[in-house]
């Protein structure tokens, strides 16, 4: 159940390029699809407006020629074990890039349509329940 996901977890950030490909599709899409297929808690893809990395080429949306490979960040919050299970596949899929791991504490993880009977379980950790007047 989703509420059991609260607690100490690991935030993985994957930094890649927008033009990176895997199996004929954009790499970020391939990674997100694999995460979803393997039942991970979630993933979010963000596009950066500018940046540089290991190959020291500047990418920016300000200059047309440099805007073809803008930075993409995929953020995944999961248990440490689940993240570690994913690493071999990521190593194979990703060419150049950066992966970081941070500790994160999940205080809320709930779907949009929570049943009234379940609301107590899904309340943000640390918030006092509303008192009846």
């Amino acid at each position: 159940m989703h509420h059991r996901f609260k607690g100490e977890r690991t935030l993985m950030r994957i930094f890649i390029g927008e033009s990176d490909k895997y199996g004929g599709q954009p790499l970020y899409q391939a990674i997100v699809e694999k995460l979803r297929h393997d039942g991970y808690a979630g993933a979010t893809v963000l596009r950066g407006v500018s940046g540089f990395g290991a190959s020291s080429t500047l990418h920016t949306d300000k200059v047309l020629r440099l805007s073809l490979d803008l930075p993409i960040i995929i953020e995944v919050v999961e248990t440490e074990e689940a993240i570690e299970k994913m690493l071999p596949a990521l190593d194979e899929m990703i060419g150049g890039g950066l992966i970081t791991l941070e500790r994160a504490r999940v205080i809320m993880y709930r779907p949009a349509n929570v049943r009234p009977s379940q609301e107590e379980l899904h309340r943000i950790e640390g918030l006092e329940p509303e008192r009846d007047k």
Partner: protein
Amino acid sequence: MILFITIGGIVGTLARYFVQGWLQARPAVGAFPIGTLAINISGSLIIGFVMRLATGSTLISPETRGALTIGFCGAFTTMSTFSYETIVLLTDGEYLRAGMYAGGTVIGCLLATVLGIGLASRML
């Protein structure tokens, strides 16, 4: 990427050739380079629109972006033709027309890009 840019470039060059040809052949036009002006302004509109849409969403892949901007817009619009035509107007003593052409191109293209960006922002 190179392939996409090349195809965009081929289409852009041919589009410029035919659009310029059609516009300059209009009877009312005469010797004013309206063809170049029109393609530079419309190309600026297109690039503003495509780049805003592309960077504000994932609708346009980097390769398609390259084909449409570096390829198509890069080939469709022309700085060299504009420079040449302005200099010829000046050396022919047509200072007013040269000024109108140069001013019209710069202001028109910048405004067109702003308009293109605005249209794409509306869509997003």
